[in-house]
Symmetry: C2
Subunit: 240 residues, 2 copies
């Protein structure tokens, strides 16, 4: 059998070390962008457009397209926006049939840098098994790109990468050192992800913002089945 | 007590995310640069000058200083050089009283980028406890800089960073996510570092070069006590 690569890019800064054109890329930003995107697409959002800055998001208002605008700074919805980055904003009632413009710094950079990949899809604990089942059918190299925190390593994204490698591992894939490490860290933590992540600096930051409920939500496994995929600038539901 | 930072920079590419002037930096390049440097300084080398390219190393011959020149490509000593990067070249007989110019791509970059640190010292399993004992007395922030492999994450350097955090952990230090992860990976592997590293891609590459003996040598713990420190362009023995 032709062995494929199964690799983990630990932060977007390291993406230039990979030829993304050789891979299906999975973007991972567990707290909270990719979790919210999975939930929103599951709940019938027509599309989600990720942008880096609040100003990029505002620019869509002027286009008069009726898009929902999501922007948050320091845990508060920015004045004049429809909602923030909490996955709880992405319910059926709010997003079904809508296009949402989402401000997300870490995630947007990772997406932008991955544009030349064979395919760019979105992963989170919410759609873990559904994503892995699809990846297994693709017969392509896979690169899990952790959005990280301010361009550096983040534990929660790495653990998710480990959860994916755990499902995909086998003779069909050759893992790199970061995939091996991510998988071992996931093994250590999977019995109590939340307890394990209490050691993480990002979790601490998020708790200070008062969004413990978001954290707990984002650590739920397999509550959705949709796989968001990048088409042009828009994330839409992958047709299986 | 004033809490200090204990952080791990997983590859030199991420160094720009840190203000190195705030830290004592420990450079880590287990296979094989920092292991060879620790062994050479222990064995009485007057100084080791790390350079990036074989040409930089050759340039020293023309200076007529009588330095030993170490350069290797693909596991072979380059023609006209005194020896390669194997720690076995750094014996008392060969290096006592000598200055050695050592070609090491990953390690040199990490050193160069760390120049503004409060202090730059060299770590390897060989001098682990001696290094940690000294670090504990410094009352400074500590950044462990993994040289990595071709600028990306490498398992062996991360495991060593974990070995250091394991010795330093306690209320005096606040660890970042990569330090937490490195420590957990070290915990998993410390009973059989060599067996664990058999999963690593770099170990596989090195084995293909026929240098298993070097690998085993570099995984020996606490066989030296010297701490190499950067002074200008030269690594010399730290006076304790």
């Amino acid at each position: 059998m032709d062995q494929k690569k199964l690799e983990v890019c630990l932060t977007p800064v390291l993406l230039s070390l990979y030829d993304v054109a050789e891979y299906i890329v999975v973007i991972v930003d567990i707290f909270r962008a990719t979790s919210s995107i999975c939930y929103g697409i599951e709940n019938g959002a027509e599309a989600i457009i990720p942008v880096a800055e609040v100003e990029d998001c505002s620019a869509y208002r002027e286009k008069g397209l009726g898009h929902l605008l999501a922007a948050e700074r320091n845990g508060e919805v920015v004045d004049g926006f429809d909602f923030g980055n909490s996955p709880f904003s992405y319910t059926i009632e709010k997003v079904a049939g809508k296009t949402i413009v989402l401000t997300t710094t870490n995630g947007t950079q990772a997406l932008h840098l991955s544009r030349q990949a064979k395919r760019v899809v979105i992963g989170s604990f919410l759609n873990l098994t559904s994503l892995c089942t699809w990846l297994k059918t693709q017969n392509e190299n896979i690169l899990l790109v952790c959005a990280g925190w301010k361009n550096n390593f983040s534990l929660e994204d790495t653990l998710f990468a480990g959860a994916v490698t755990e499902q995909l591992k086998g003779p069909g894939f050759k893992m790199d050192d970061s995939a091996v490490s991510a998988q071992d860290l996931y093994q250590l933590s999977k019995g109590d992800l939340s307890g394990y992540l209490a050691k993480s600096s990002h979790t601490e930051r998020l708790k200070k913002l008062g969004i413990e409920a978001d954290i707990a939500f984002c650590l739920q496994v397999d509550i959705t089945t949709s796989i968001p995929v990048l088409e042009g600038e828009r994330l839409v539901k992958l047709t299986l």
